[in-house]
């Protein structure tokens, strides 16, 4: 199945104004009253929780109402429709498909809306390996980090084995790495990103979205964007730091979406030759390092502040 990754997450939120302001401050661009996008067109749709157009929500109170996957072509949509003869597959007015997975999450599938990203990844120079153009500063005070693309979604699920089996056997996702007894990191066939999904086994009353994430151009943009969020009064949940599985830099913020919203960058890329790893979850295996924000400060000659 030529599934690329999440195109769009649809939310039914309690505080519409706060959620929309948060999305803008995070760095997404409003495309209309409901849709806020990254550079490549992927994004989030924000609606009030009682909006009649939304699919029914989970009983757990999760505000995530639907995950819409982008697929490569109509043939993939046809293959998905043919695969799910065991449940209702709705064909919506826009030609996308809608079904409910084995965990009860509403999924959508559409020919992807994501455009080719023309932004360059952060370039890093090292002795003998110069990657940034000559005379090009690596960072300036006026740089504006730009949110590039919807990266991944992490779900609390009551049975990560069933969740993994559904995405592996029915949708062709591959498990790239695994936290023992917790759940798998999975990537769909038409992307090389380490994961677009991670499942966390949790009690049924927790089912929902743990966090969702957009890709940035590099670690500098992750930290700069996060710093901007702190300066706007938003509260960090975890980070900045760098994960081990996927190698992605991260910074998580609590949000009015009832879950954390993350920035990531520089995720590992994999193909079918990758041998998945497994580890126990915990601080040592969740990150290579973890930093914490503090206000700007600088050493100097000492003495009274100028």
């Amino acid at each position: 199945m030529n599934i690329i990754g999440p195109d769009k997450l649809i939310w039914g939120v309690e505080d519409l104004a706060a959620a929309k302001q948060f999305a803008v401050d995070y760095g997404l661009t409003p495309q209309n009253e409901h849709y806020y996008s990254a550079l490549d067109g992927t994004g989030i749709e924000i609606r009030a929780k009682d909006d009649k157009s939304l699919p029914a929500g989970l009983t757990t109170g999760s505000m995530l109402r639907k995950t819409v996957y982008g697929v490569k072509d109509q043939a993939t949509l046809d293959a998905i429709k043919a695969e799910f003869t065991d449940r209702e597959v709705k064909v919506l007015a826009d030609g996308s498909l809608e079904l409910v997975d084995d965990m009860g999450f509403v999924l959508g599938f559409q020919i992807t809306i994501r455009t080719t990203n023309t932004e360059k990844a952060e370039r890093v120079n090292a002795p003998g390996d110069v990657n940034r153009e000559i005379n090009q500063p690596g960072v300036t005070k006026t740089d504006v980090p730009r949110v590039q693309s919807l990266s991944h979604v992490v779900y609390f699920v009551p049975d990560s084995v069933i969740a993994e089996a559904f995405f592996a056997n029915r949708l062709g996702f591959v498990t790239t790495d695994r936290f023992t007894g917790v759940g798998p990191f999975m990537r769909p066939a038409a992307t090389q990103d380490h994961h677009t999904i991670f499942f966390i086994q949790a009690p049924a009353f927790m089912q929902g979205c743990e966090h969702f994430t957009f890709h940035m151009a590099g670690p500098t943009d992750v930290v700069q964007a996060g710093t901007n969020m702190v300066n706007k009064g938003y509260q960090s949940f975890w980070g900045p730091g760098r994960h081990l599985f996927g190698s992605n830099w991260f910074w998580y913020f609590k949000s009015p979406f009832g879950c954390n919203m993350e920035y990531d960058a520089d995720m590992d890329q994999h193909d079918e030759s990758w041998q998945g790893r497994e580890a126990m979850i915990g601080p040592d295996n969740s990150q290579a390092f973890l930093l914490q924000y503090r206000e700007k400060w600088a050493p100097g000659p000492g003495g009274p502040k100028p």
């Binding site: 309690e14 509260q235 949940f237 949000s255 954390n260």
Partner: protein
């Protein structure tokens, strides 16, 4: 008289009741750590104080933005990390990852002049 003075010296004034509108919350960072350590909610003309620490992980704070401890209709305290809802009156989680667990209540005192005080021993005991 001496005892009264000592008590005052051992307490920190957090404000007065009128600093809080009805159904409003406010966080406090007495040590200037950069992150609030406890918060007070005014609800139905009563004040409730809790540690700013979600029982889900035990060491992460609740709001997505400073002072945003209540849901949109000020019916529940919310942890924005994973959407946990807590009853304002007793801090009990009624939805979310820490279902059935409670926020840690912080003792505060209200004077006859409607001043809100916290004792230094409470600050130490609760690591506020």
């Amino acid at each position: 008289m001496v005892q009264s003075l000592k008590l005052t010296m051992n307490k920190i004034l957090l404000g007065v009741i009128d600093d809080f509108a009805e159904e409003q919350a406010k966080g406090f960072d007495l040590n200037h750590s950069g992150s609030d350590t406890f918060f007070i909610v005014r609800s139905k003309n009563k004040l409730f104080a809790y540690k700013d620490s979600c029982p889900h992980y035990g060491d992460t704070t609740l709001p997505w933005k400073r002072h945003h401890y209540l849901n949109n209709v000020a019916e529940y305290i919310v942890c924005a990390a994973h959407g946990a809802l807590f009853q304002i009156e007793n801090g009990k989680c009624i939805q979310g990852p820490c279902l059935g667990q409670k926020l840690t209540k912080v003792p505060i005192e209200i004077s006859e002049q409607n001043e809100i005080w916290i004792d230094q021993t409470i600050i130490k005991e609760f690591n506020l």
